[in-house]
Amino acid sequence: MTAQKIVSRAAATLAVSAGLAGCTDYLTVKNPTVIEVTTLDPIADAPVLANSAVQNLAAAYGWLIMYTSWMAGETDVAETFPTRNEFGRRAVDPTNGSLSTDVWFPLSQAAASTYLVLAKELPTPETNLNYQKAHFALGWSFLFMAEDFCQGTVRAGPPLTTAAMLDSAIAHFTAAMDIGNAVTAAPDTAASRNMARASLVGRARAKLQKGDKPGALADANTVPAGFTYNLAYFDDLSNRTRVGNRLWQFTADRGSMAIAPAWRVVDPRVPQRVAPSNLLPQDANYTVDRGLPYVIQDKYPGFGSAIRLASKLEADYIAAEATGSAAELTLIQARRAANGQPAYGGPTDDPSVLEEFETQRGLEFFLENKRLGDLVRNGAAVRFVPVPGSTYFKPGFSPVGNQTCIPLPITETDNNPNFHP
């Protein structure tokens, strides 16, 4: 090969290489609409991810309250959408699209997003607030899953029984409490303690649901008086589905919920009003079908209304239920008096007391996603739930079903490999 050929071929090779290298640069484009995971600092950005996980829980909470309120008979479905009416009829099909997107996914995202924090090696784990928030959000996610769903799973894991979900909830609540109680440095102390107390209430609730009444009682009794923990919401038009109060959104913006007839009571614990003329039910035939005016909830009157997650009051109810009829009766009378009701004068046998206890509890925690769990735990004592086999109040629908828990959507059972061993 002549020198000329060698030089010319080398030049050609260099030219082609340079061209390809230039192309590679040319093919590097901007992608500013998403956050590449690699751009996050696992330690510095951990608070962002932890706080986001708690917000995911708040977003899921709103959805759950609405759908379970339909299923447990706290509210009527004032919508025409068949998928939502399936909840009102206690006959939710696994193929129900709303089940997948509105109910199961938000709760799943709340649970899964905690692992963005928990999977990272963060400094001082025993007092790391990011871990605490993640455990807190995951504990509540497991608890809601256990109370509302027939089965559960997290991050495409194996199917979980109710007991397994409650055990997981207890474990994560415990972890959140441990961190909260270990934190001593201001200004984190107050916030982390509060989160620990909310976790304590959650753990008591999980234990009660599991049947561990002594454990529930012990936890409930240690909740300090006057304690309340709310999840915060915010009115932001561009992020209403994430940070806005879902109950108000579906009252004001959608017209999806009407107070069920049985809960149209004069009681300060169940704020409600006949809807003004500018707030109409999405199902415009609602008033005709129900034969009643369209009454909307007034407990959450704005996009920024907070929703209670845990409280000493709930701890008192847990403690009373864990203790027995006498304690329940005492609490009944106290709460009736506090809310302007005459003293309970009905039968005092255990089932009757439990029924009244559950009714008071229903008033107390109206639209707080407790009723479905109560139904599982105390069955017939939980009143005003749509009666299986009865005619649904809207014409053209099948009769009311008998579900007491929500099935997992087919999008989960079909696509999760652990459901097809």
Binding site: L40, V48, T80, A284, N415
Partner: protein, 1036 residues
């Protein structure tokens, strides 16, 4: 005749390319002569326009005007070969000697031909561009011929039913809405199956329009191709699959469509054409009536207030609460859409002007178009203004420069449609007669409160699109054996879209929308193309010719949109976002780049046998920052066996026969960023304020690769019976490997369902046969008759899904079956005595979503040289459509007479549609055939719901349509003179005239979301309208 001899006189834009390439100097520098003449139709003797006369070995060419005249100046002296071509005519070549300064007359009389081997195609090939050299089929449509008489306003209308294997679905009757185009079935499950569109070699934006801004219109979004004016098209070439589309790179597996715009005519004098068109658009559709049994409340003659009395139920019998006396209750009906005249006759008014002409070495084409279309609902309009300037210049016999700019401004006004509570059908077909009121307030028979025609009409969905497509091509032939083509161009578009709910006190809309609600969207998209192809030809000996081609292509796309929303207006007239009390904004950005280098070697033996191999190496920014290069090979063979000596004078009836085969690969790339693991910014609340946060978005897939489409096709082109019958038969087999599946994730992973990551798994195969038969049974001076039959079959199957389990509960992807096939729990038996309906315990196939057989038959009869009758019939069979409208009206919000009238259906049919309706009984009962069944109900559920059993509502969508009939009359010259025109024609035509189908819904072509790959549901979608068009063409 004018000549441009100075560079300074030429368009500045062309100078860039021209200055680089045109070292050869001007025309005057060479010894040359001029060729001119006329071209006529041999049978009728009438002059032929739009005939291309090309001087072989140069870039020189002329085009005949309407008088059939042409003139080519600057033809190099010496032996000259003219190649004369027009679609539908037999190509002619003529060689003669031209001396310097001489003016030679060369006239041609062309005979029609159904055999098109000499036609030149420019798409999907390098080297010899005659059709005879192409191993893969590239179909060509003469748009100028079609647009002359047929009522075509959009690109899709031009394409529909004209090319075997190309399926166009006009998914609704909404004017301006998107239509889906599929070539040889679906190439992909998860990525777009829309073909790439090029205009004069420049890639343009296609597919559905601004979906983010037109949220309310359901699936009837705007279509990007509606923004083009087809009357500016000369022809369309369709590159059907990977075998032919390899040179278009890693995104072309769904096919490529090349639009060639009309060009200026060098050597012809200035002529103008004025076309006037008026369409009457008939909705051709009566909405079904809503039914209900009167209730106790509805029969109350004295409700409070009295205005709420139901006028339909007075005197009726009330339904008892337990429903026991339903047989005696009064069944009343109402049709709010008819009552309030929701649908109307629309119309189109269109005027098109074109001017064309040129000097001795340049030509120009100018056009202006204005069309205004009012659709069949009060808030549906599709207006388009467009203009085009094309200019070509031949400064020397070695160089031609073409440049064109097309500009359009399109206004779409679209009604809410499909799955939409604000739609006419959504509002009208789901309302109940029980809400009728004397005072007309409330629902009054509509689905929503105060949601009547006036309220729906008041919703504004407007989109204005400004679009400019600029192209420039330089063809440089420095030596007779060396040709070069360099193309640059851009497609710039900008949308201004708006959705507005007026403030109202009646509560016509949902919730806070009644306070006044505005969304504004500004979207800009830019695409740039740089394309270069060089070809060298050499002969070794008298028989063998070699063509070597090489080139590159660079593509760049950038899309950015900004959307702002506001809620709460003081007054409706002050309706800017700034005037609202609460506001929000969003932004999106996408950028994608692609680079490819291509090469091809082609050898031909005696211009009868052609073999070629080639390939393209490609990279795409979709695959993250580390772009992977991949190679796409191709090979083809073409053999014009009938020109061999042994063929002699033909084998009886068979005069011409070409055998061909091709194999090639292309790809399909996912959306940019699909490989990345990402989060989405999402706020959280802390201390009463919003803080920036993040939530899971997509798990990504860093090993993502492009889909690879591998196709081979084989077939023949034949001319029979004196080449009066042409047959084109092709068998294709297209396999998409590394199939990108957007594998559904279980929600428990925490990623949104629409962000499921792409994974390269599986293999999809499409195979079928395409048959085109063109016949000219009669070709006489006073009578000619052309017929064309197109047939195509499609057999699609997912061959392999790797380790992905079947997914989808309505449209399912499962190995061994068609992609996106319809499934359900299928009915096994119906017992009318026990009312037990047994269904399968698993999801089973019902049928495919895409037609398995499509065909079209057209007839074009010309009488007395000036009277033309054209008819087009087409049909599609084998596919299914989910009649979700009926499903909803019969099983969800029960409004249908079919469900409510106890005499409407047989007991068997009731059970088939709705199952057992006895309270306490399962509607459908699953058979227990799973290995684990019978067993616990959690494992073996017994009951199946009507949602899962779709046998009655996933219906066959077979149909035949009389798509088009037109009658044209070419007025005598004397009559044309009354208009001071050289020629005048008058056309009356009809579209969508009759449909034969067993489908129970409004129309078997309806798709409530045409932009999806396999979503074939008919849900509250306005059906296609019938059009009658009156059109006049005048040429001056």
């Amino acid at each position: 005749m004018r000549t441009i001899t100075s560079w300074r006189l030429f368009l500045p834009g062309l100078m860039i390319g021209g200055a680089v390439l045109a070292g050869a100097g001007g025309l005057a520098a060479q010894a040359s002569g001029t060729v001119s003449g006329s071209v006529t139709d041999q049978a009728s003797g009438r002059p032929l326009g739009d005939v291309r006369i090309h001087v072989a070995g140069t870039t020189l060419q002329g085009v005949t005007d309407l008088r059939g005249l042409y003139r080519i100046a600057g033809v190099p002296a010496g032996s000259v070969t003219l190649e004369v071509r027009r679609i539908g005519y037999k190509a002619v070549e003529k060689t003669f000697t031209l001396t310097a300064g001489e003016q030679v007359a060369q006239d041609f009389a062309l005979s029609t031909s159904v055999v098109t081997l000499e036609e030149v195609v420019i798409s999907g090939t390098a080297g010899d561009q005659k059709r005879r050299a192409q191993g893969a089929v590239v179909s060509e449509i003469s748009v100028s011929d079609i647009a002359q008489n047929a009522p075509v306003r959009t690109f899709e209308q031009v394409l529909q039913s004209r090319v075997p294997g190309v399926s166009v679905t006009l998914a609704s009757g909404t004017s301006g809405a998107f239509s889906a185009i599929r070539i040889r079935g679906a190439a992909s499950i998860s990525l777009s199956n829309e073909p790439l569109i090029y205009v004069d070699g420049v890639k343009i934006t296609q597919g559905a329009g601004n979906t983010s801004a037109t949220f309310g219109v359901g699936g009837q979004v705007t279509g990007r191709l509606s923004e083009l004016n087809p009357k500016d098209f000369e022809s369309i070439e369709v590159v059907k699959g990977p075998a032919a589309a390899t040179l278009y790179g890693a995104d072309a597996s769904a096919g490529v469509i090349q639009i060639i715009t009309k060009k200026g005519k060098q050597g012809s004098r200035f002529s103008q054409t004025l076309s006037l068109e008026y369409d009457n658009i008939d909705p051709h559709f009566t909405p079904p009536t809503n039914y209900a049994f009167c209730t106790a409340a509805a029969v109350n003659p004295n409700p409070t207030p009295i205005g709420t009395r139901n006028p339909l139920c007075q005197g009726g019998v009330a339904l008892l609460p337990d429903g026991s006396n339903i047989a005696t209750a009064t069944l009343v009906s109402d049709n709010p859409l008819v009552r309030e005249k929701a649908f109307r006759h629309g119309n189109t008014k269109e005027v098109q002007w074109t001017g064309t002409g040129g000097g001795s070495n340049f030509g120009y084409y100018l056009s202006g178009n204005y069309g205004a279309e009012d659709g069949t609902t009060p808030n549906n309009a599709f207006d388009r203004r467009s203009g085009r300037v094309n200019f070509n210049w031949t400064p020397s016999s070695k160089l031609t420069l073409d440049a064109g700019v097309g500009m359009t401004r399109t206004n779409f006004v679209l009604p809410d449609d499909d799955n939409n509570v604000y739609g006419y059908l959504g509002g009208g077909l789901l309302g109940t007669p029980l809400t009728r009121r004397d005072d007309g307030t409330g629902n009054n028979g509509w689905f929503g409160s105060e949601r009547n025609v006036a309220a729906i009409r008041a919703i504004e969905n407007d989109q204005q699109t400004h679009r400019t497509i600029a192209t420039a091509t330089a063809n440089w032939i420095p030596l007779s054996w060396w040709t070069n083509r360099f193309t640059v161009g851009a497609d710039w578009l900008r949308d201004e879209a708006r959705r507005f709910f007026p403030k109202n006190t009646r509560g016509s809309y949902q919730g806070l929308s009644n306070t006044g609600d505005i969304s504004e969207n500004r979207e800009g998209e830019e695409r740039y193309t740089i394309d270069f192809l060089s070809n060298a030809r050499a002969s070794t000996g008298p028989h063998l010719t070699h063509n070597i081609s090489a080139g590159f292509q660079v593509l760049d796309r950038r899309n950015e949109n900004v959307q702002a929303t506001g809620q709460g207006l003081t007054v409706n007239s002050n309706n800017t976002i700034s005037a609202t009390s609460s506001r929000s904004a969003q932004q999106g950005f996408v950028q994608q780049r692609q680079v490819g280098f291509l090469g091809q070697y082609q050898a031909s033996w005696n211009d009868k046998l052609y073999a070629s191999v080639g390939g393209r190496i490609d990279a795409n920014s979709s695959f993250g920052n580390t772009a992977e290069w991949f190679f796409l090979p191709k090979a083809s063979l073409s053999y014009v066996i009938s020109e061999e000596r042994f063929w002699g004078t033909g084998m009886g009836f068979l005069n011409t026969l070409r055998l061909r085969g091709a194999w090639g690969q292309t790809g399909r790339s996912p959306t940019p960023g699909a490989a990345l693991q990402t989060l989405t910014a999402a706020p959280f609340i802390q201390a009463g304020t919003e803080q920036p946060g993040a939530i899971p978005n997509s798990p990504g897939n860093d090993s993502l690769k492009a889909e690879r489409g591998v196709e081979y096709e084989a077939g023949f082109d034949a001319g029979m019976f004196g080449n009066r019958v042409g047959v084109e038969l092709t068998y294709f087999r297209k396999t998409s490997k590394n199939l990108l599946l957007q594998k559904p994730l279980p929600p428990s992973l925490g990623f949104p369902a629409n962000q499921a990551p792409f994974v390269n798994i599986g293999k999809l195969r499409n195979q079928g046969i395409e048959l085109g038969i063109t016949a000219q049974p009669v070709q006489r001076r006073l009578l000619s008759w052309d017929m064309r039959l197109g047939l195509s079959t499609l057999n699609s199957k997912i061959v392999d899904m790797g380790d992905v389990a079947p997914f989808g509960t309505l449209n399912r992807n499962s190995e061994g079956f068609e992609p996106g096939m319809f499934v359900g729990n299928r009915i096994r038996s119906i017992d009318t005595l026990t009312k037990i309906v047994i269904v399968s315990d698993t999801l089973e196939r019902i049928g495919p979503v895409l037609p398995t057989l499509e065909g079209n038959l057209s007839s074009d009869l010309t009488l007395f040289r000036n009277f033309r009758i054209y008819a087009l019939l087409d049909w599609k069979t084998g596919n299914y459509l989910y009649n979700l409208t009926d499903f909803f009206r019969e099983t969800q919000l029960v409004r249908s007479n079919r469900r409510l009238d106890p005499t409407a259906l047989s007991a068997y049919e009731k059970l088939r549609r709705y199952g057992n309706q006895t309270p306490g009984q399962d509607a459908f009962v699953r058979e227990q055939k799973l290995p684990t069944c019978p067993g616990p109900i959690t494992v073996c559920p017994r009951a199946a719901t009507v949602n899962e059993v779709r046998d009655a509502f996933v219906q066959k969508a077979d149909f035949a349509k009389l798509r088009e009939v037109s009658v044209s009359y070419l007025l005598p010259v004397k009559w044309a003179g009354y208009f001071r025109a050289q020629s005048a024609s008058f056309t009356v035509s009809g579209q969508n005239l009759h449909t034969w189908t067993s489908y129970e819904g409004f129309d078997p072509e309806l798709i409530s979301n045409a932009a999806t790959n396999f979503g074939r549901s008919d849900f509250l979608t306005i059906p296609p309208a019938r059009r009658v068009v009156v059109k006049m063409n005048l040429t001056f």
